[in-house]
Amino acid sequence: MPDRISAGDAAHVAVLARLALTADELERYTGQLAGVLEHFADIDALDLDGVEPMTQPYPLTNVLREDVVGDCLDRDEVLAQAPAAEAGRFRVPVILGDEG
């Protein structure tokens, strides 16, 4: 099991998770995550060499269908639910360039 999670680790994780956490939240989650992860040390003792990881219970792969046109969602109905839309598209604040 890796070292205990630090406040710096938690701050990095919050950036990765796109969560603008407050200082209070960061402190609380750092402590709680460290506490929960300590309980998870129980699997450290297991010999897992050669065990195949199980990503899902049912062995379906590459589920395909015929490439035919079918029903799809109504564009106006979808865009009506967006926080901002323009000219048939989702509208967002600036992405690249001046991040001012």
Binding site: M1, P2, I5, D9, A10, H12, V13, A14, L16, A17, R18, L19, A20, L21, T22, E25, Y29, Q32, L33, G35, V36, L37, H39, F40, D42, I43, L46, L48, V51, E52, P53, M54, T55, Q56, P57, Y58, L60, V63, R65, L73, D74, E77, V78, Q81, A82, P83, A84, F90, V92, P93, V94, I95, E99, G100
Partner: protein, 471 residues
């Protein structure tokens, strides 16, 4: 009146669907202010749907096996044009542009949707206290939790608001609240029921399943919702066996194993009911013995790494771009982060943090990768147990319903509620919780039957025997 009795009365013209729905809406009006099982009651829609059912009967048509039966939907099942919140601020006011396959199926079978039920935000929790809209209370004792995350659905059935409800189970979210509210709750085999239109939490674990007052009602609802759906790529191709035809066949000759590892840490009043269930199954002709499934003790760890990891990925879609809340900021990255910080509640943020950490560079192998291997061990140990046993028997929960607020400040104590329900979804297997008498404070206790994949029919036979034994 049970769901099958209502459907029979409506189909034969003895009772109108309108009369049935009014009776249930009256109960909701009378008591849901106290219990808060529903995020949204769809009174007018329900009356209109009931009128359609009555018209069908009047025209000599058969509305289907759920004719006129009120049903409550967990508010993480999409309903076109009707708010679907997942009990989260981030989806408040969202009206989905499509309907979940299970909802289409129950409506096509004649059921009448009465409302959307409360849940722990994005189904993350075991008490329904993590709802952005306030907790649901247990109908048996309103100072106590109903369990979770399908706590609203379980409370709705227990309070007589609707004889049927749909929930979703990722680590026990149907069975645990069913046990604490004294109703039947069942998690199907992974892939048996379409998840199209279920808002995703942990995609390798999530399954939709029935909650009901009786085993027969749960079986009826399961048969309606189960089966292949091309809209869900994890749906099992080919026809599934119906469970109703063999429901009354009993357990004579079946080998049933009591899971040794699902006893330590469980309250004595709950264990006493498991032992009584074992006696009842023995009396019905089953051969009951203890069985060891050693790796299930690592289930909690594997689950609380895998489920948050998948959740952190699934919940990346709530970014303020396409639906739901947006908190304005000068650029998109800051808009995403501000929106998510404002829209998600405490437990959801905690799990996103945990999952993101478990998947992050440098920690992936130590946490997520290892958890996937432990998951394989759990599935393999179940497989071994099922070479000697047809069904397994275990408690559903470690205790009866606990007091509101008792565990909100201790995430790990809350996670422990799921210790007996987590192994089945990790393996992808079906399991059912059946009310089996009472424990401390006269509160309901549920016992759990576990079965190999796609052996729902056998599992329901056992559940029916348990139900008969406590009548």
């Amino acid at each position: 009146m049970s769901a099958v009795d209502i459907a029979a009365a409506v189909r034969s013209g003895q009772r109108s669907a309108i009369d049935v729905v009014e009776e249930h809406l009256a109960r909701i009006a009378e008591r849901d202010g106290e219990l808060h099982a529903f995020n949204l009651v769809l009174a007018d829609d329900a009356r209109a749907a009931a009128a359609v059912v009555d018209d069908q009967v009047a025209a000599g048509e058969d509305p289907g096996p759920l004719a006129g039966v009120p049903i409550a939907l967990k508010d993480n099942l999409c309903t076109r044009g009707i708010p679907t919140t997942c009990s989260s601020r981030i989806l408040e006011g969202w009206r989905p542009p499509y309907t979940a396959t299970v909802v289409d199926r129950v409506v096509a079978a004649g059921a009448v949707v009465v409302g959307k039920t409360n849940l722990d935000e994005f189904a993350m929790g075991s008490s329904t206290e993590n709802s952005a809209f306030g907790p649901t209370r247990n109908p048996h004792d309103p100072t106590r939790v109903p369990g979770g995350s399908s706590g609203g659905s379980a409370a709705a059935v227990a309070a007589g608001f609707s004889p049927l409800a749909l929930g979703s189970d990722t680590g026990g979210s149907i069975r645990q609240p069913a046990a604490l509210c004294g109703v039947v709750g069942m998690k199907p085999t992974y892939g048996a029921v379409s998840r199209y239109g279920l808002v995703a939490f942990a995609s390798s674990l999530d399954q939709i399943g029935p909650l009901a007052e009786t085993v027969t009602d749960a079986a009826t609802l399961y048969d309606v919702i189960a089966g292949y759906d091309p809209l869900d790529s994890t749906s099992i191709p080919g026809p599934l066996r119906a469970v109703l035809p063999s429901l009354g066949e009993g357990v004579d000759g079946l080998r049933i194993g009591i899971v040794t590892e699902m006893r330590p840490g469980i309250d004595p009043d709950v264990l006493a009911r498991v032992d009584a269930a074992a006696d009842a199954l023995t009396a019905a002709g089953a051969k009951v013995d203890e069985v060891s499934v050693p790796a299930v003790v690592y289930g909690l760890t594997a689950y609380y790494l895998i489920a948050p990891a998948e959740a952190s990925s699934n919940l990346a879609r709530y970014d303020g771009v396409r639906y739901g809340l947006r908190v304005d900021a000068p650029d998109t990255a800051r808009m995403n982060a501000a929106t998510r910080a404002a829209g998600f509640g405490d437990e959801v943020k905690r799990r996103i943090m945990l999952g993101t950490y478990a998947l992050s560079a440098g920690y992936y192998d130590a946490y997520y990768g290892k958890a996937l291997k432990v998951r394989r061990l759990i599935a393999a140990d179940f497989e071994r147990a099922y070479t000697q046993f047809d069904l397994l028997l275990a408690p559903t929960t470690p205790s009866v319903a606990f007091l509101l607020g008792a565990k909100v400040d201790d995430p790990f104590a809350m996670y422990m509620n799921d210790v007996c329900t987590i192994p089945s979804p990790l393996a992808g297997h079906p399991a059912i919780s059946v009310p089996f008498g009472t424990g401390a404070e006269g509160l309901p206790v549920g016992v759990q039957l576990l079965a190999p994949p796609l052996e729902e029919a056998r599992m329901f036979r056992g559940a029916r025997v348990l139900e008969e034994a406590v009548r």
